[in-house]
Symmetry: C2
Subunit: 409 residues, 2 copies
C-alpha cells in the first residue's frame, strides 16, 4: 500500500480527495497498486469533514512517512509551496501540482531536484485545468518539431469576452456577472490583466522549447481596454476578440511568447471556444495542427489532472526526462522582445474613407485586407511597419482608437 | 543503438521513415536512446528511394535481428498484418500500428500476447490520425469514470457533409469533389457507409469500457441517404449534420456504441469541426467534457502518431497494462442493441402544420422542441416512443421522409 499526501485542503485539494475516493477502484486497477490518501496538510482543521482524521499541520509528518510516495500540491503561491515541494522531492516522493505560479517561477529548479532524486515533478493541472496538454506535448507529439502554440488559457476572461461579443455587455458589466457567478475574484486583476495566462504560456514555452521562460520575459496585455466597439469591428471582419497566450519560434531559433487580446477569425476552431472553457492549439511539422479543449479550472476538473499525474507517477520507476527543461538561457537572448512581433492587425479609427486606408497601406507597403468606416485590417507585418501605418494614418487626421493583432493560423 | 522496423512502405510507412529522419535528434533526446530505421518490409523494391537499401521482403529478417526493438506496422488489413504483428510481439519486439482494422478485430488477442512477452502493442494512430486520444484516455483522464465518447472519426465524410452544408452541394457532387482531392477512394464505401468510423468507435469503446467490442456489434449507418433537405432542416433547428461515432454507458452498465448521421447543435464545439479534420469529445465525472481535435488521416499526421507510440515504447520497460482490455464478454450482453438507443430526434416530413406535430407529441408523451413546415425536433426518447411518434404522424397522413437523431451533450 502506498500513500498519497495532499498539501492544501482548499477547492482543488478537496477535489483531489473526493475524486480519488469516488474512483479508487478504477485508479488502483489502472496503476496495479493499492493506494490511499494518507495525509491532508492544512493550517486549518476540518471538524465534521469525512477525512478530518487525515488532516495534519506539519509537513514533517509527511516527509517522515516512508509509505508516502506521492504528493499532490494544491496550495498555490510560491511560499511555502516551493519549500514543501522541494523537501518532498528530496525525500524521494514524486509531486503533482496544480500551482502554475510555482511551475512558472521555479519549474527548472524543481525539475532538476526531481531528476537528482529519481522522482517526478508533474504539473498537468497547471495549464488548462482538466485538459490533457502537458503529457500529450512531450509524449504523443514527441516526433514533431513544434513551431507554435496558441491558446485560450484563462476561462474568466473568455467568459467576459463572450458576454461582450454575444450579449453586448460592457467589460464592466460582464466582469460583474463573472464575479457573481464565482468565475472572477473580487480583485480580478490576475485574470483580466493577463497574469494568469502569462504563467501558463511560460510553462508551455518552457516545455516545448526546452529553456525556462519567466513571466517577466513575456509581453502581457490584458482585456481591460477592450471595448464593445473593438468587439463589433472584429465581428465585422469575420472574427472574435479572445485573450490569446501564444508562443512562436522565430526563424533564428529564438522564441516570442505573448499574452494579448487578438482577433481570431471564425474559420479557426479557437474562435468557437466559449464560456469558461480553455483550448490550446499546437502546430508541428507532423501533425499540422491539433487542438485540446476542456474546462480550464474548477474543483473536479483540476483534481482530475492532478490525479492523472499521480496515477502516472505510480507507474513510473524513474524521472520522465522528456517532461523537463533547462534553466533560462544566460543573457535571456532566447526570448525575443515584442518589437519583433509579426502578425496581421486590426485598427479601429475615427470615421475614415476606405480610400485613405488604401493609400496609406500602399505607401507603407502592407496589404489592406478589409475596411469599415471605423477601421481596417492589414496583412502580416512587423512592428515597424505597423507603427508607420499608424503614424501615417494620424498624419492624415485619422485617430487610432485601438490596435488588435490577428491570430494567423 | 536500437533499430526500428517499418512494415509496409506505402503512404503511412514512408511518412514514418521521413518524419523519423527529419526529427531524429529530437527523438533521440526525448528517449535518451540512439535509434535508427533498420528495415523497411515491403513486397516491392524502391529503386532510387533514399532508403532503398533498408528494404527487405521477408519478415524473418526482422524477427531474427535482436537489435530491432520496435516495429511500426503500416500495412493495413488483417492479413498478413495479424500474423506479422503476432510474431514480432512473440519475438519480444514492441509494435505500434496505424491499422484500425487490425485493432478492431484482433486487439484483445494482440494485447494479451504483448503482455505475455512484456512488450507493448500501441495504436494511437488507429483512431483520429494525428490526434492524441488513446494515450490521454488511459493516462491523463485515468482518474475519471468516463461515461461517453462521441466524435467525428472520419475526415472524408466530414468533408462531404461540410460541402453539403456550406456549399449547397449534393452528396454525389461532394463525393466526386472528395475523390478529386484524394480524400475519398474510388470505392468510397468504407468511408461513406460508416465502416471506417465503426472500427474507430470499436477501439475507443474497448479501451474505455474494458471489453473488446467487434465491428459487427455496432449499429452503423453511413451518410449516403443524407439529403440537402436534411441538412437544411438541421440548419433551421440550429445544428449541422455530422457522421458521429459514439458510445455511451447505459444505467445497467452495458454500453451502446453507434455510428450514424446525427444533428449536432451549434453550441457544441463538435459542430464547428470542418473539412477533413476529426475530433473526439469525452465525458467523465472529473473533467465534465474535453475534446481532442486534429487531422484524422494523411501521411505525416498518421506517422506522427505512430512515432509517438514508438518513442513511448522506447521509454517503457514493460507492458502498459492500462492500455488494454479483456476479450469480448460471453454471450455479448455487454453491448446493448440499438433498440435501446435514447436521444432527441429530427423528423423531416411532408408539409405539415405545427399543430399536428404538437398534438401527436402530446399523445405520445414526447417534448416538441422545434417545428418547421417540413419537420420537427422532439426531445430525448427511446426507440419505442420514436416509433409511435412516427406511426401516429403517418396515421395523420404525414409522410416521414427522414429521421436523424440529435447528439445530446
Amino acid at each position: 500500500m502506498k500513500k498519497i499526501a495532499v498539501l492544501g485542503y482548499g477547492v482543488v485539494g478537496s477535489g483531489v480527495v473526493e475524486l480519488f475516493y469516488r474512483n479508487q477502484k478504477k485508479i488502483e486497477k489502472n496503476t496495479g497498486t493499492s493506494l490511499e490518501v494518507g495525509y491532508i496538510l492544512d493550517l486549518r482543521d476540518f471538524p465534521g469533514d469525512p477525512y478530518a482524521d487525515k488532516v495534519v499541520h506539519d509537513i514533517q509528518v509527511i516527509l517522515d512517512d516512508p509509505e508516502v510516495g506521492y504528493v499532490a500540491e494544491c496550495m498555490g503561491g510560491v511560499n511555502p509551496a516551493f519549500d514543501f515541494v522541494r523537501r518532498c522531492l528530496e525525500a524521494g516522493k514524486s509531486v503533482a501540482t496544480s500551482n502554475k505560479q510555482l511551475v512558472a517561477e521555479k519549474g527548472d529548479i524543481l525539475l532538476q531536484i526531481a531528476k537528482e532524486h529519481h522522482v517526478n515533478f508533474f504539473f498537468e493541472a497547471s495549464v488548462g485545468g482538466a485538459i490533457p496538454i502537458i503529457r500529450p506535448l512531450h509524449t504523443c507529439l514527441a516526433a514533431n518539431d513544434i513551431s507554435a502554440v496558441a491558446g485560450i488559457l484563462n476561462g474568466t476572461t473568455n467568459f467576459i469576452l463572450e458576454k461582450m461579443i454575444h450579449a453586448n455587455m460592457s467589460f464592466a458589466d460582464a466582469l460583474e456577472l463573472a464575479q457573481k457567478k464565482g468565475y472572477a475574484e473580487k480583485d480580478p486583476s490576475a485574470d483580466v490583466d493577463g497574469g494568469d495566462a502569462c504563467r501558463k504560456i511560460c510553462i508551455l514555452s518552457s516545455l516545448v522549447f526546452g529553456k525556462h521562460v519567466y513571466p517577466d520575459q513575456v509581453f502581457t496585455r490584458g482585456i481591460r481596454d477592450v471595448t464593445l466597439e473593438d468587439v463589433k469591428l472584429a465581428c465585422d471582419f469575420g472574427g472574435v476578440v479572445k485573450l490569446i497566450g501564444a508562443v512562436k519560434r522565430l526563424e533564428d531559433g529564438r522564441i516570442l511568447p505573448t499574452v494579448m487580446p487578438m482577433v481570431v477569425l471564425n474559420d479557426s476552431l479557437l474562435s468557437h471556444v466559449n464560456g469558461v472553457f480553455n483550448a490550446v492549439m499546437v502546430w508541428g511539422d507532423g501533425i499540422d495542427k491539433t487542438m485540446f479543449y476542456g474546462r480550464g479550472a474548477g474543483k473536479l476538473p483540476t483534481a482530475s489532472a492532478v490525479l492523472g499525474d499521480i496515477i502516472d507517477e505510480v507507474k513510473k520507476k524513474d524521472t520522465v526526462l522528456s517532461q523537463s527543461w533547462e534553466p533560462a538561457a544566460e543573457g535571456n537572448d532566447f526570448v525575443a522582445p515584442v518589437s519583433e512581433f509579426y502578425a496581421p492587425r486590426c485598427y479601429r479609427t475615427s470615421p475614415c474613407g476606405s480610400g485613405v486606408f488604401a493609400r496609406v497601406a500602399e505607401e507603407v507597403g502592407v496589404e489592406l485586407i478589409n475596411t469599415r468606416e471605423n477601421g481596417c485590417m492589414i496583412g502580416s507585418c512587423g512592428q515597424k511597419k505597423a507603427e508607420a501605418f499608424k503614424q501615417k494614418l494620424a498624419a492624415e487626421g485619422v485617430a487610432i482608437l485601438s490596435r488588435i493583432p490577428v491570430l494567423a493560423e
